[in-house]
Symmetry: D2
Subunit: 441 residues, 4 copies
Amino acid sequence: MPAYSDQASTAYLLAQYKNVRQATLDLCRPLSPEDLMVQSCPEASPSKWHLAHTSWFFETFVLAEFDRHYQPFHPDFRWLFNSYYNSLGEMPEKKLRASFSRPPLDAILAYREHVDVAIAGLLAQPVADEAARRIVLGLSHEQQHQELIATDIKHALFTNPLHPAYLAQTDGQNSADVIAPPLEWMDFAGGLVEIGITPNPADVRTEAFAFDNETPRHRIYLQPFRLATRLVTCAEYLAFIEQNGYGRPELWLSEGWAVMRAESWQAPLYWHRDDATESGWRIYTLHGFIPLEELSETPVCHISLFEADAFARWAGQRLPTEFEWEHAAAASSLNNKSNNFLENGKLHPMPATPAEGLQQIFGDAWEWTASPYTGYPGYKPLPGALGEYNGKFMSSQMVLRGGSCVTPATHIRATYRNFFTPATRWQFSGLRLAQDSKPTV
Amino acid sequence: MPAYSDQASTAYLLAQYKNVRQATLDLCRPLSPEDLMVQSCPEASPSKWHLAHTSWFFETFVLAEFDRHYQPFHPDFRWLFNSYYNSLGEMPEKKLRASFSRPPLDAILAYREHVDVAIAGLLAQPVADEAARRIVLGLSHEQQHQELIATDIKHALFTNPLHPAYLAQTDGQNSADVIAPPLEWMDFAGGLVEIGITPNPADVRTEAFAFDNETPRHRIYLQPFRLATRLVTCAEYLAFIEQNGYGRPELWLSEGWAVMRAESWQAPLYWHRDDATESGWRIYTLHGFIPLEELSETPVCHISLFEADAFARWAGQRLPTEFEWEHAAAASSLNNKSNNFLENGKLHPMPATPAEGLQQIFGDAWEWTASPYTGYPGYKPLPGALGEYNGKFMSSQMVLRGGSCVTPATHIRATYRNFFTPATRWQFSGLRLAQDSKPTV
Amino acid sequence: MPAYSDQASTAYLLAQYKNVRQATLDLCRPLSPEDLMVQSCPEASPSKWHLAHTSWFFETFVLAEFDRHYQPFHPDFRWLFNSYYNSLGEMPEKKLRASFSRPPLDAILAYREHVDVAIAGLLAQPVADEAARRIVLGLSHEQQHQELIATDIKHALFTNPLHPAYLAQTDGQNSADVIAPPLEWMDFAGGLVEIGITPNPADVRTEAFAFDNETPRHRIYLQPFRLATRLVTCAEYLAFIEQNGYGRPELWLSEGWAVMRAESWQAPLYWHRDDATESGWRIYTLHGFIPLEELSETPVCHISLFEADAFARWAGQRLPTEFEWEHAAAASSLNNKSNNFLENGKLHPMPATPAEGLQQIFGDAWEWTASPYTGYPGYKPLPGALGEYNGKFMSSQMVLRGGSCVTPATHIRATYRNFFTPATRWQFSGLRLAQDSKPTV
Amino acid sequence: MPAYSDQASTAYLLAQYKNVRQATLDLCRPLSPEDLMVQSCPEASPSKWHLAHTSWFFETFVLAEFDRHYQPFHPDFRWLFNSYYNSLGEMPEKKLRASFSRPPLDAILAYREHVDVAIAGLLAQPVADEAARRIVLGLSHEQQHQELIATDIKHALFTNPLHPAYLAQTDGQNSADVIAPPLEWMDFAGGLVEIGITPNPADVRTEAFAFDNETPRHRIYLQPFRLATRLVTCAEYLAFIEQNGYGRPELWLSEGWAVMRAESWQAPLYWHRDDATESGWRIYTLHGFIPLEELSETPVCHISLFEADAFARWAGQRLPTEFEWEHAAAASSLNNKSNNFLENGKLHPMPATPAEGLQQIFGDAWEWTASPYTGYPGYKPLPGALGEYNGKFMSSQMVLRGGSCVTPATHIRATYRNFFTPATRWQFSGLRLAQDSKPTV
């Protein structure tokens, strides 16, 4: 089963390639060339850089290695748009990306076109499995950068003192009169379970893709546990704030207490006090500022691991481990209509709806877990420069699971591991509560 | 003379206004909207911001006070484009200017047009002296920002890893085969001399303008001194480098030694080692990189006060005081053909030419002096918010004199005082040597 | 079995108390009051502060709660010598400890005496279990600070430009002519194993003590693995340095690469280049500087997790997890004569000796593991302020196991978990290699 | 007149030497070896270091060059106790001085004794003029360090959370019931005046000493001006605070406003809010905390240049230049009984008393001037390493004049120039108001 040994397969892959690449451009359509220049925090990059770097990825890892007729678009782009792959040589410091007024946007768009034409040419006939594998990886990579574009531009527009919206809110998007169902608990028996995935090396289809950090599938032992059926809401988080959650050191990890005070955090990122609102707060979204009272049933997001952990302790609960989460999520439906992903255009978490089972497992907001990001037993990074993709970040980061409202729908899965340092807040990151199962009599 | 009580005078002022405003736009013509977004160091601002702020200045200090029919272009612009006038209320932090993708360039250009139309309307008839005085101040202000645009965009394009040029070099601009005349000394007897200017409050013509920090004219006593007839060249500065000037603490002020080592300076800003050149160095200019050997007779620039001072000590000389400089400059011709200002388009200091008297007093490169920036005896800042223009910066800064190759020709004069902290290098700043007069027998 | 309900038990506890308390004083005997003042890095405290804080611990958690006749030595000491227990109120910033010239050393020694007398009085008769439990905790706490005194004073004396020794080296301590046995591997089958400890609440003997972070005992699943039979030596680490280990980014975690370059690390802490030695290096020890060639067979120590991890990758191996380590250590003998702990006075790791089984599991050098420091399933911190002892540090830290040459012998055990941020180097921290078991045919 | 060519002169110099050296020891008498270790801010050094460094100065600049029989006390001391003389080679970083537990205090005292014996031997017979000149310089140097000991130990004891006093207050020291005379103005006509001093090189007596930065005597031109007859009091400064002086940007230099807000200054250093006092404030002094109401008539001190300047602007006045101050001080009596210097033991500024002429010109508190610290016309630093004493600090510092309550009486004179960066507050620094003379009709 070398999947791409025939033209039907390559045609299917090319169709997927075109969809993903187009989605990146679609995301940038509401933005001007000037918007695409802004880099407003160390975590973020200008959107224009994302447009270029995603093309660089295909050029570097696919075309330069598997298309012997390929002519690089520009010799400098090879190092200019390298993000962090030391094995490929020197690259510009990340903070310099804000100075990339040249190449101009037109050149970057031409670069994308150049790469797209070459990939289409390559896929006009059967290709080596490894080439197909790299293209599939490149599509997942591009989807990650789609999410980063949404995340980074939200921060960029928020940083602008005028706080412009990315898109005006459309009818029916308002969730002001929805009430989230009460928080309930679902029990899991634990025991010896399997986590992660061991891909079939012969199956190079998009649908079979997983990052190296999800591998290999392996056994772990879980104690019995319970998960909340939905995410924590803004209303619940507001109660934590109002009951002095940010003023009680016993609720916080020591590092979190120090960071929170050094940064003067008093609420999630994007929450601003506003006496003109009923709740006393307004929240910046990709649709601009919205009074908190209109978002109170939506999942809280843009909180750090430290805030998620302090909230859970305040609530008398805890965060789930990534293994508890994955074990539970493996039984949850994905890609059903109710998942709130990038494609549905909400661009903000939506309230849970009354339903059986775990809600909001996929989409809405990334869920901080209690698990530091490490390699699974037997973990092997990809060979060569691609080994730098995931493995070298396995220190001082925590795992998040489940994707968010700006994650592309085909990007996420139960075994998917996202990771950020515990003070990170610019992501759409929220939390789901967990607890140990009560002993039954 | 109240100069603007008649239409001939206002018409003349309006013509000047149009010239200066147009020159700002001309300066930005080689730049894209993306280029205009870049802010590459704490000293600099995006050029787009300069375009807006200079219009804000006329709107705030002229139109809002003297044109009772004036409608502000946008209510937010009043605080958005305030630079540092605390008396006018809050303003965005300087570092946030890089996030101003909105308002878009088109809006900024419309803002400029809106202000220009209003000023033209105001000057269609005689105006109050204070209104005219403010317009004249606004034109000097705009010229300062023209120089800043040139300085900031040089840094912005240099920061881009591709190091693009602002403009390609044109024929005849090359100074590779010119030899600067030998350094000679001109003697000044000193004694009781007058420094500064006391403007005639009734004379509001552009030609009579001076900043408050140049006032009042007052007596000081000078010892006899000598000034070098030209600026220090790159070739001379290279000798300082090659004789370990950056490695000998006894040549440096203590603060300079600390800064130089912390910043790892080994040469002026924009000098890069390049073994492919004859000299071993290339220098970034607004025309891109040029081998040092082609610029060796041009004045060294982009050095800090610390480097200027260390060079002078190494040379067995010293820097002039700002009073020695002004006393000497008062007798020098200004605006003659040989002065290298912004308008002649060289955009880089040019070699001195054999001639009588002091060369390069005006234009080419700002000259660091040994004088800290303080208020003259009897100094009074302008009343109100305009008092923040100059006075509040009178600490920890050093005076520079004479203008540079990116100073507009009509902006400079013998009494003009520029000032920066002693570690500043992003300006076109060089030096002229001085010494005490030898006692004559 | 409430162990302290009778006088025989309390007498035994008091004897242990006296031993531990005396050991702290013994450790400070080679030091002057001035030495006891030095705080040379953010991780460290002055030894005088350790002397006071350990007494504060007994006063605060034992005497103030269980001795109703107790008179505090000084009312200010209650907050002055609080380390980090927010629940008990405000405390001085850690960095201020270097300013504690008052109270003078004499007062601190009187404070110790005052507390010792009160504890002896309390233990003159049977005490409540919780009081005994707290005293036992206080003894483990004091032993931790003994190790910190040794670690901190090493850094303090090293920081002094004269680099004085803590103690002169005595005869027979030199390990120059010992050869460590070759590195061999021991196999472990893995499977479902138990980790941690669930103390019997009724057993309050010292011998039964464990910190809350070692609890509860719980099941985990281990893949088959192998451990090196001894620690990595200085000679082996030198090979890593000489083969450009600090210059190859592919060997390093991304965070480690950044830290290592920012801090200009080129070798373990305390290694200095010295051309006068055969090896080109000398190493600072508590006995002063010693040429590397005399220590080449001793375990490398004072390395960060990042260096340990990079070395392991360079060697084609990996670090063990803390669970692999504990599973292996549980079968190793502890407290045998060969363990190199604080009491044997070597004050530096010693070479392994030829023997069966795992060598150097306990003592010599803490072993960095691949495990981030988190709470075990069902982990509950101690109630009240003592809950801050361990739990609030469970972020961004890595687990170390096994104790070092400055760990008191009765302090360590197989379930014991130490933890530091991955960039920490001032501890006696080294590494043991691990690998996945090869599949057998 | 080579003053030291005979034994009477050297005997007189030796007597002075002994007095000054003894005064340093006297100052340290209330302090323990632990107190002498504390270094509580970057400006300060441990007192023990001052004891050593002042001896090092005589050893290095006198004994090593002029006593051919001199045996250095310890070879390492040559670099260990070098402060900032780069010409003499490497030295420890200033911040490391807190780690100098070794050499112990006893060794430092023996070092002092060793140097004292050698100097006494040298002065047992006539010496070269240059040797005498160096000894005189060394005595002025030692007096500067006496002032630094008082200043540094004040900060050190204040930093200790217990805030112990250096000395208990003695009877009659309290100034609670004294009322300072009203602030009046004294007029000066200005004109061509002489500033500074040109020493007679043949006169090497202590009484003739001046630092190189006071030379040469030279002419300057002064506009007419007025000086306040006394220093600004705490009561007057409190009014500035209570009228929102720290909240009005228009009163502050731009750099001062930024520093003040970054450092959260709301009052002078050592002022603490205390609701238990009548005034709402208490002030830490070398005698411990004292309610502000008991010090309200004493001169305000421990303020930065920025605060002095803002106060003056708030009061509608300005700071004097150093030349105005010197011109006025040259006519004031020095060393009369009313001057409050170190020797009178008050250790804090005292209220002015009703009297003719300028009060508090010498002693009480250093007076910030409006003058940046620069070299006088024709200034030449001392040759060799001693040239680093003053000259290399001539950037970004402001001149203070007149000495303080911890300046030794024989150390100060009208031409004396002290200098610190404008944000400095750990010195006993206050202010005297000045204004331009009103034009007479």
